[in-house]
């Protein structure tokens, strides 16, 4: 507690002294107050050394007081909640917070890796590119692991994230980004008109610099004005105040992304509270009031703990009543000197010297090893101090406006980058527009808020402006760096980029700002160079001997500050990654022991396990029982598209490669669809239910794409066709009934229908009634058996399945799953997604004769290309093991005998293997070069993954019932 007492002022500050909070830093117990950040609490406890730098492991302290902090990155939380690289300045203190320094080994004060600092002369810009180029193999094994160990940031949690993340969408008239004087003033002006206003600020307290500077508005302290404005806004129904919410990205058409911290800053971490919320914000107008970041002046050893931005020192004294040091030197090139000196004096910090760079008097070097002990001035004078407040001017936070695609422009009068002409409905107000005083911020904000409200059709009168008393500011004379030891003059603290690196990069020809950035990594750290980028640009300009405006700036990209991946993932993780579709028969199947497999977005029954059975045994049993008796399979997932209209047949004729003009009412036909490039797209049967009424079926996985394709064909290619279509996949349950007794089972449940071979022949399709419910029956078969597919309204699926099971009991009917279906279709040589995988033509899979030569259809002309019609393309064959017993492997390659096993000799591959219960050995479908001409030949099945190289015989792809006797029975 002694530390807390010695650096905390006895009174003042926006902290709640009634609410002390205990926390730990590297295991040490410490105390702070509600209203502290971790950074202010650490300073209050006398902690100066907070982390080690990325590359050289140089000691680093707290440099800033906001999201621009480059040095004081910590790991927060423990176990699965450990989060790395959080600026201590952005971590709101809470009871029990556990923080740890990072990138040090074995400890923060004694870091063996600091030897890197001694090696700094040997680790210049582009070091990695130059040093570790050769031999390439050593990269993965040696260089990268070692570099990663030595250089780095914090450690992520190694366990699954236990927290929840939410996602929300906000629509508003006006989004105000930033809750400082400009943002509050804008929100007030707009909010009073009744416009829907959202105000976001990354801090947990609204006010911005009003909290940190000694500013008086209408005679009251700035923070009191901020509080009363926040109170008024909170009382307006049309205004939403969002603290702890960072707008990190500005996208097209006034779409913005924001992340709101929720649970991390609450002591009661209830289970229903998400850790963070990602907000998608759509705003008619945007007022950017994002403020500015102070920039330093760079000099030798300017990264020592104890060197701090003047604005940060004022924030610690005024907002947190913390003394960031005992004896200070102020070094500046502008009038902020006065405000800093007053704040330090009022806060009880001795001001040993004020070094005004404008008078040619400069801080040449910071002295000390692990912390600042003094400074050496340009005249050689040395002054003992433990705090150096440095102020080099302000850089407007132009990040969000730049993200809209507007390049910031160099303002030669204010020596800073300001936003370019807006391209979206946005305006920058106050400091982020380069207008730095509180008075400007308030006036800009009010005008921006008023104008935005007026543009949205609301009243247009600005509120009265408070009278402002604020310290002098401005009168900047640019001083970027003080000559000295260039390797120790740091521009990007977090990535250890020094002035020497900039000079080297320029010498080596990396003079474009984009090249410089990538070669030196300037501005590429997690803080994206909020502190050092502009100094770096100025130095590049100096090296090249051109004005800064000519150097330009790199592209600003989201996110403004690091954003957790969890927030982006939101709800979409694990079983919620995508919705699961269950068929109407899902529960019905589950009661019968079904195990499921993912098929596209669906879960389909894979097999119905009986006690003691595994998948293999169950699927063999189901296939055999179906071929010997009768089986029932859930085919509800097949896509179903209802197509009606006078031109329905014309549409079918154009999207399928085979002909449709002569299909009579009451008949189904197998159809093959190609893509316009001639590759097979999808297949299925389409039935003509009425004069102008067709029902198309698609494969399970292509149901969506086929629907979109038909809509494209109809709306884009041939809008003149008079036809309408709608997906009815979900409206109908589908049941396949297959096997020699299939007809007998159906006749029992459809006693009024003539299902004889004459009355309902192969490919018949008819609408009928099944015990009073509408039904559609098709005589089609994927298994090759006598087969029917019955469609009934989805809700009736389970009841009809039960009915069929009862009717089939006397024939030992079994439910069968996808696995048995797959066995049977392979036995029959029917192709499916394994063969129609987006690289095969109709000819490749033995369906070349289906392609009509008499009509235009999608893909017609491209299948005529020589390459795609070449006979040596791998095409469909059947394969059996030459020894009659060996299993065949999916994905295994086919090579001729007596040639080396090389890719050049590869002639095809196995697409679908199965154990055939009908034949009693393994069979497979495969694609083989010149396939149909090689029946009878023996080739090799080579599987280098699972280790197999066996002779296989090329046979016809139709293994069972090649004459189709069963089908037509």
């Amino acid at each position: 507690m002694t530390g807390e007492r010695s650096f905390r002022g006895a009174e003042g500050g926006l902290i709640d002294r009634e609410r002390p909070l205990s926390f730990t830093f590297d295991g040490r117990e410490m105390t702070g107050y509600a209203g502290d950040t971790l950074a202010s609490a650490l300073l209050a406890n006398g902690v100066r050394l907070v982390g080690r730098s990325f590359k050289y492991h140089r000691p680093r302290g707290i440099f800033a007081a906001g999201s621009n902090e480059p040095n004081a990155l910590v790991e927060l939380g423990t176990g699965a909640r450990r989060t790395p690289n959080i600026p201590a300045t952005m971590a709101e203190l809470r009871e029990g917070l556990a923080a740890a320094s990072q990138n040090r080994w074995p400890s923060l004060t004694f870091d063996l890796m600091a030897v890197n600092d001694l090696l700094a002369p040997f680790m210049p810009a582009g070091f990695y590119y130059k040093t570790f180029m050769w031999p390439r193999a050593l990269w993965e094994r040696l260089y990268e692991p070692q570099i990663r160990k030595a250089a780095g940031l914090g450690r992520p949690a190694m366990a699954p994230d236990p927290d929840r993340y939410e996602r929300g969408t906000l629509h508003c008239d006006i989004l105000v980004v930033g809750g400082g004087p400009a943002g509050l003033s804008a929100a007030l002006a707009a909010g009073r008109t009744g416009a829907r206003v959202v105000l976001c600020d990354e801090d947990f307290r609204l006010g911005g610099r009003l909290l940190a500077d000694d500013v008086r508005l209408d005679g009251r302290p700035g923070h009191a004005w901020a509080e009363s404005v926040a109170g008024e806004l909170a009382g307006l129904d049309n205004v939403r105040l969002m603290r702890r919410t960072t707008v990190f990205g500005y996208y097209d058409h006034n779409t913005l992304g924001a992340v709101e911290k929720v649970a991390d800053y609450r002591e009661d971490r209830a289970a229903d509270v998400p850790r963070e919320r990602l907000w998608h914000i759509e705003a008619h107008r945007v007022v950017l009031a994002t403020g500015a970041n102070e920039r330093p002046i760079a000099f030798t050893n300017n990264d020592l703990p104890g060197v701090m931005l003047g604005s940060a020192a004022r924030a610690y004294v005024n907002r947190f009543a913390v003394r960031p040091g005992a004896r200070a030197v102020i070094f500046a090139n502008n009038d902020d000197i006065g405000a800093t000196a007053d704040a330090l004096s009022n806060g009880g910090v001795e001001v040993a010297e004020v070094v005004d760079g404008r008078e040619g008097w400069l801080v040449k070097r910071a002295l000390g090893r692990r912390g600042l002990r003094g400074v050496e001035l340009s005249d050689g004078k040395r002054i003992a101090c433990d705090l150096l407040c440095v102020s080099g001017g302000w850089d407007p936070a132009v990040h969000l406006s730049s993200q809209t695609g507007v390049k910031p422009v160099w303002d030669a009068d204010s020596f800073c980058l300001v936003p370019g002409e807006p391209r979206q409905a946005e305006v920058s107000a106050g400091a982020c527009a380069g207008r730095f005083t509180t008075e400007n911020a308030l006036r800009d904000g009010a005008e921006a808020g008023r104008a935005a409200a007026a543009a949205c059709g609301f009243d247009d009168k600005a509120p009265d402006q408070p009278a402002v008393e604020e310290p002098a500011a401005g009168n900047l004379q640019p001083i970027w760096t003080v000559p000295g030891k260039a390797k120790r003059i740091f521009l990007d603290f977090q990535h250890d980029v020094s002035l020497a690196d900039i000079k080297l990069a320029t010498r080596e020809g990396y003079t474009s700002v984009e090249h410089l950035k990538r070669y030196t990594t300037l501005g590429m750290a997690t803080d994206q160079g909020k502190v050092g980028n502009v100094v770096g640009l100025a130095m590049l300009a100096e090296e090249r001997g051109v004005p800064i405006a000519e150097v330009g700036t790199t592209t600003f990209r989201p996110p403004y500050t690091p954003t957790t991946l969890g927030a982006f993932a939101g709800y979409n993780r694990q079983q919620h990654f995508q919705p699961v579709r269950r068929t109407p028969l899902h529960d019905w199947a589950e009661r019968r022991g079904a195990i499921y497999v993912e098929a596209g977005p669906w879960l389909r029954s894979r097999a119905f396990l009986q006690p003691g059975e595994d998948l293999f045994a169950a699927s063999i049993r189901e296939a055999k029982a179906t071929r010997d008796g009768v089986g029932l399979c859930d085919v509800s997932t097949l896509g179903k598209i209802d197509i009606q209209g006078p031109d329905a047949v014309e549409l079918l004729n154009r999207v399928y490669c085979n002909g449709w003009k002569r299909l009579p009412v009451g008949k189904a036909r197998y159809g093959l669809m190609l893509r316009e490039d001639g590759i097979v797209f999808d297949d299925g049967t389409t039935s003509r239910l009425g004069e102008r009424h067709y029902l198309m079926t698609t494969t399970t996985t292509h149901a969506g794409p086929v629907m979109a394709h038909l809509e494209y064909c109809h709306q884009v290619l041939w809008p003149e066709l008079d036809v309408q279509m709608v997906s009815v996949t979900d409206q109908w349950a589908g049941l396949a009934i297959a096997g020699p007794y299939a007809r007998k089972v159906l006749e029992k449940v459809l006693p009024d229908e003539d299902l004889s071979n004459e009355g309902f022949p192969f490919l018949a399709a008819r609408e009928m009634e099944l015990q009073g419910i509408p039904a559609r029956l098709f005589r089609i078969s994927f298994s090759g058996e006598l087969g029917f597919e019955l469609n009934v309204p989805a809700d009736y699926g389970p009841a009809v399945a039960d009915l069929l099971m009862r009717a089939g009991a006397e024939y030992n009917i079994v439910p069968y799953g996808l696995e048995a279906l797959d066995i049977m279709r392979i036995e029959k040589g029917h192709v499916t997604g394994a063969e129609l995988h987006g690289r095969t033509t109709a000819a490749d899979v033995g369906l070349g004769r289906m392609m009509s030569t008499k009509k235009d259809y999608i893909g017609r002309r491209m299948v005529e290309r020589p390459g795609i019609a070449a006979p040596e393309r791998p095409s469909l064959v059947g394969l059996v093991p030459a020894d009659g017993t060996s299993p065949l492997h999916g994905g295994a390659h086919l090579l001729p005998r007596g040639v080396p096993t090389t890719a050049e000799n590869d002639e095809g591959y196995i697409t679908s293997p199965a154990y055939s219960p009908e034949l009693g050995h393994w069979i497979a479908l495969g694609l083989l070069k010149n396939g149909p001409d090689r029946i009878g030949e023996t080739v090799r099945m080579v599987d280098l993954v699972r280790g197999a190289d066996i002779p296989v015989k090329v046979v016809s792809p139709i293994f069972v019932d090649p004459e189709g006797k069963r089908l037509y029975a």
């Binding site: 058409h253 779409t255 391209r423 316009e676 979109a708 494209y712 709306q715 290619l717 017609r860 491209m862």
Partner: protein
């Protein structure tokens, strides 16, 4: 990005899928020159600036739209139903 649908109004990008260049025209059925088909199937310009594109309001009304959009700034100048192509913008 937001895309105005003539049937549904202005909607967020997530509701749409993108096909691409709307200016290519499928050759007539009788066209037998492989080059014409090759151009239609494979060749697309990638203009910087205004571009007519096909978008599908897949998670909305399922209309195919022809949208004129600036590929550089994403400004949308015009949006109409693809089936009303060739008519004047509304």
């Amino acid at each position: 990005m937001r895309i105005p649908c003539p049937l549904c109004g202005e909607r967020a990008l997530e509701e749409f899928t993108y096909l691409g260049d709307a200016t290519v025209k499928r050759p007539a059925a009788e066209e037998t020159d492989p080059k014409a088909w090759y151009d239609f199937v494979y060749l697309r310009d990638n203009p910087r600036g205004p571009h007519r594109e096909l978008w599908h309001h897949l998670h909305g009304c399922r209309a195919w739209l022809e949208v004129e959009r600036d590929t550089l700034t994403h400004e949308v100048f015009d949006s109409r139903l693809a089936r009303e192509r060739g008519t004047e913008a509304k």
